[in-house]
Symmetry: C2
Subunit: 119 residues, 2 copies
């Protein structure tokens, strides 16, 4: 049982759309990820996903609207809902999601990371 410093974890990698596992709680992973640019449209059939902005800002796009997210804000995307994160500038995001969750959901692409690294 150690304290985990988020800034330190974020400083440990530079890649985008490449989630890293930093903790596990009740079958859920705590992940850190850097976004920049546009992700692929996708949905997760079985998993709700929480996105908490640690540093920066981004927009979560849904098919019918966009939600702007700033530092210290989170959004929960319910299972089955198509979404696409878009970040004009680099943003640091904390994710809570079931350990089974693949980042691109139903949309396998070159952005898919099947086995995130633990850091």
């Amino acid at each position: 049982m150690e304290n985990v410093n988020l800034a330190e974890k974020f400083s440990g990698f530079t890649s985008h759309w490449d989630p890293k596992i930093v903790g596990e709680v009740n079958g859920h992973d705590v992940k850190v990820v850097k976004f920049r640019g546009s992700f692929v449209w996708h949905r997760h059939e079985q998993e709700d996903e929480l996105f908490l902005v640690h540093k920066g800002c981004f927009t979560m796009e849904f098919r019918d609207r966009h939600v702007a997210l700033e530092e210290g804000e989170f959004i929960i995307v319910p299972r089955g809902t198509e979404h696409r994160p878009v970040a004009e500038e680099e943003v640091h995001v904390l994710l809570f999601e079931p350990a089974t969750t693949v980042n691109t959901g139903d949309a396998e692409s070159d952005q898919t990371v099947n086995e995130p690294e633990r850091i």
Copy 2:
């Protein structure tokens, strides 16, 4: 699907050791809570608990050692592990735990909150 601003949620109440539900994800609650002083020693038999410091600092005491937590740091307390949060000054904490989790675990006391409010 709305953005939830943590600072705004924390500004909505002043009580200590009184968790408020601010989101739900896969049967887990996202809660905000203010600590000040010492909590009761307790454990959760079935639930791991994540504590993320939003503002301030506190110490998570275990029977054999203490872990200091600062802003932007989290700790995961595994199920079955006795613990006690202690905060010299007020601290704002985000919790991520199964919706079944009662704050005082096996140690019912006047600090027990059986049905946290949703804010």
